[in-house]
């Protein structure tokens, strides 16, 4: 990834709230716990005398969980934070999301139909909220995850107002 070529699109300027990292870390911990419990139950409940692939699985599954823990807790949140970007300009809203695969979505303010702000359970713990900007197309939705609540609400309000003023009826 060091010799990554120039991105195909203009990179949005603003990053998410730093709390997003800790939210992703929490999600990674929770995921690891769930997988860990499942694998522990498997290892304790299924003796290796069953045969077949079980002896291999008894050490392969815990190893996979360990790898998942390292990636989901130690690597992914930080890479995601570096990749995720968003920006609202005079004409457009755009966002870059993902970590290995990257998705960049761009919507002109004139074509915005609704702006949603949602707060999940974990997000409430960290004082975060997600903004979704919807258009007439099911695929043309700009999602900006994990902004500070105040920022998210201001952005949603501003966009809804501006979309009202310059709305283009032709969808």
């Amino acid at each position: 990834m060091s010799a990554a070529p120039a991105p195909p699109v203009h990179e949005p300027a603003w990053s998410l709230s730093r709390s997003a990292i800790w939210l992703w870390v929490t999600q990674g911990v929770l995921g690891t716990l769930v997988y860990g419990v499942l694998v522990a139950v498997f290892v304790l409940a299924v003796p290796s005398s069953v045969g077949g692939p079980v002896p291999v699985l008894r050490w392969l599954l815990p190893a996979l969980v360990a790898v998942y823990a390292v990636v989901a807790i130690g690597i992914r949140p930080f890479v995601r934070y570096r990749v995720h970007r968003w920006e609202v300009t005079a004409e457009t809203v755009h966002a870059l999301t993902g970590w290995l695969s990257r998705t960049w979505t761009l919507v002109p303010v004139a074509r915005i139909q609704t702006v949603d702000v949602t707060r999940g359970v974990l997000q409430q713990l960290y004082g975060l909220a997600s903004v979704a900007v919807l258009t007439a197309s099911s695929q043309g939705t700009v999602r900006v995850p994990h902004l500070e609540v105040g920022v998210a609400e201001r952005v949603a309000e501003d966009l809804a107002l501006r979309a009202e003023q310059v709305r283009d009826e032709a969808t």
């Binding site: 990554a4 070529p5 120039a6 991105p7 195909p8 699109v9 203009h10 949005p12 300027a13 920006e87 609202v88 300009t89 005079a90 004409e91 457009t92 755009h94 290995l100 695969s101 990257r102 998705t103 960049w104 979505t105 761009l106 919507v107 002109p108 074509r111 258009t135 007439a136 197309s137 099911s138 695929q139 043309g140 939705t141 700009v142 032709a170 969808t171």
Partner: protein, 509 residues
């Protein structure tokens, strides 16, 4: 609660605009007979009836006859009640439907939310001279999956009146005020024929997967039925001697011929007498042998078209065309403008819908490498697994399958790459992809409501990207797969506008 309140409300609401408003109408009483035969309303009681029948038990001819009579009487009763309790009313501002046996439901669809009107005449309806009118409302106007409003069972003349009336009202609702509302309804504008079905095109049908599926489904249903028959009713035929090669070849030929005939017959039933005309601001498509379908689309809402060619269709240069229309539910069925015909004809029709953006630009060599790697990769994986298996257990089946897959992957990847292309013109742009079903979407610039650019890890390495034009019509997004990452900004800007580069603007944000 009562229908009267609603209709009065409507009447005062539209006031001077509609001199011809009348009382709510009922559909033709003849529809009761149609619905009795098809058990349209009585179907709902079937789940309740089954345990009753099971408890009583079915033995003897008398019980069966009594059951049939009872069910028919019940069906007649339900059909009559539902006919008696349903009304419809078209006013200058909206269409109002009332229905429901006990719980009344009143549905009001404002005229400016109506996207099109479809008049269809199923075979049984035609027997009684009736038609069914479907009114398409903009998606999202109505709750639930019921996106259309159906007036089932009016005489043909009334159906045509309803269609004209709804469409005329919609036009006057759209046109700016100032026109004299009391003026007589304008005459139907002159028609311009855009396409007409040629019976020779039915010969393409055996090469189209969806038409081939028709006889296959029929064969499946028939064999099920044959198995359900009691043993003594089944014809006692000796199976043919399958060891004889000539018998095998002959039966294969017979099966193929029957399949082809079935496909042609299926295509004929659906597309018989297809005609596409432009009437005023609408495109009107009529087709069907048993069920006559009459679909009307507004030209103003057309955002582009899709030229679709299956693998078999490409062999004989056949194609079909779908119109991409905003706010149209069930777009594949209702947007179909050209069901099946020569490619040249399809391209001409597409040119009527949207400007031709010019010849397609092929995608960079890296895209071909990626297509090949993806197609061959799965085969190589199977080959590797097969090699391990051969070495450990001596079983070579997987290895052979892997090798075949790998070899097949080469034409597969090449085919996938050959389908790729994009083009931009002054007022439209185009993207094409797909191996089995190749789809070329040609869209107007104004159709774009957003862009999505995707890059996987491998695409980033290869300097490629997939660009999806988000459109509020058709499938919602049309992708230019694997174009050069450096060309993305130029493509999106040329295909939609300056905003699409998202470069920081000089004006304060």
């Amino acid at each position: 609660m009562t229908e009267g309140g609603v209709t009065e409300g409507e009447a005062t609401d539209l006031g001077q605009a509609a001199p011809e408003v009348t009382a709510p109408r009922r559909t033709s009483p003849l529809i009761v007979l149609v619905h009795t035969v098809t058990f349209r309303q009585a179907r709902q009681v079937v789940p309740a009836a089954i345990p009753v029948v099971a408890a009583v038990g079915v033995d003897g001819v008398g019980v069966v006859v009594a059951l049939v009579a009872a069910v028919t009487a019940l069906s007649l009763l339900f059909a009559a009640l539902s006919w008696w309790r349903s009304t419809y009313l078209d006013t200058a501002s909206s269409v109002v439907l009332t229905r429901g046996l006990l719980a009344r439901s009143v549905r009001t669809v404002p005229n400016d939310r109506i996207r099109g009107v479809e008049v269809e005449a199923p075979a049984l309806h035609r027997l009684f001279g009736l038609v069914r009118v479907r009114i398409d409302a903009a998606a999202g106007t109505l709750t639930g999956g019921d996106e259309e409003v159906v007036v089932d069972g009016v005489p043909r003349a009334e159906g045509d009146r309803l269609r004209t009336s709804v469409l005329t009202h919609r036009r006057t609702a759209v046109t700016p005020a100032g026109t004299d509302p009391s003026a007589p309804l304008p005459e139907e504008p002159a028609e311009e024929e855009l396409a007409r079905f040629d019976r020779r095109w039915l010969l393409y049908a055996p090469l189209v997967a969806s038409y081939l599926a028709v006889p296959l489904a029929a064969v499946g249903a028939l064999s099920r039925l044959l198995q359900e028959l009691p043993r003594d009713l089944r014809p006692d035929v000796d199976g043919p001697d399958l060891t004889d090669v000539r018998v095998l070849v002959a039966s294969a030929v017979v099966v193929l011929v029957l399949l082809a005939l079935g496909a042609v017959a299926g295509a004929a039933v659906v597309n018989w007498g297809f005609r596409l005309v432009r009437r005023g601001g609408s495109l009107v498509a009529v087709r069907g042998l048993l069920t006559r379908r009459h679909t009307e689309l507004e030209v103003d809402r057309v955002r582009g078209g899709a030229l679709v060619e299956g693998l078999g269709m490409r062999l004989v240069r056949a194609a079909r065309v779908n119109a991409l229309v905003t706010g149209l539910g069930a777009a594949n069925r209702r947007g179909q403008l050209f069901p099946l015909g020569p490619r040249a004809e399809a391209e001409r029709l597409l040119g009527v819908l949207v400007d031709d953006p010019g010849p397609l630009t092929p995608h960079p060599p890296a895209a071909r490498r990626r297509a090949l790697v993806r197609a061959v990769g799965s085969g190589l994986l199977v080959t590797a697994a097969g090699t391990v298996l051969t070495l450990t257990t001596g079983f070579w089946g997987v290895l052979a399958a892997g090798m075949v897959l790998t070899v097949l992957g080469v034409p597969l990847g090449r085919g996938r790459y050959a389908a790729l292309g994009h083009a931009t013109g002054p007022r439209s742009f185009s993207v094409r992809s797909g191996l089995l079903v190749r789809e070329q979407a040609v869209l107007q610039r104004r159709a774009v409501v957003g862009w999505q650019v995707r890059q996987t890890l491998f695409q980033r390495r290869a300097g490629l990207a997939t660009v999806v034009a988000c459109v509020g019509a058709g499938s919602g997004g049309y992708a230019a797969v694997d174009i050069a990452a450096a060309d993305v900004a130029a493509f999106t800007e040329a295909a939609s506008g300056r905003w699409a580069t998202a470069a920081p603007t000089d004006s304060p944000g």
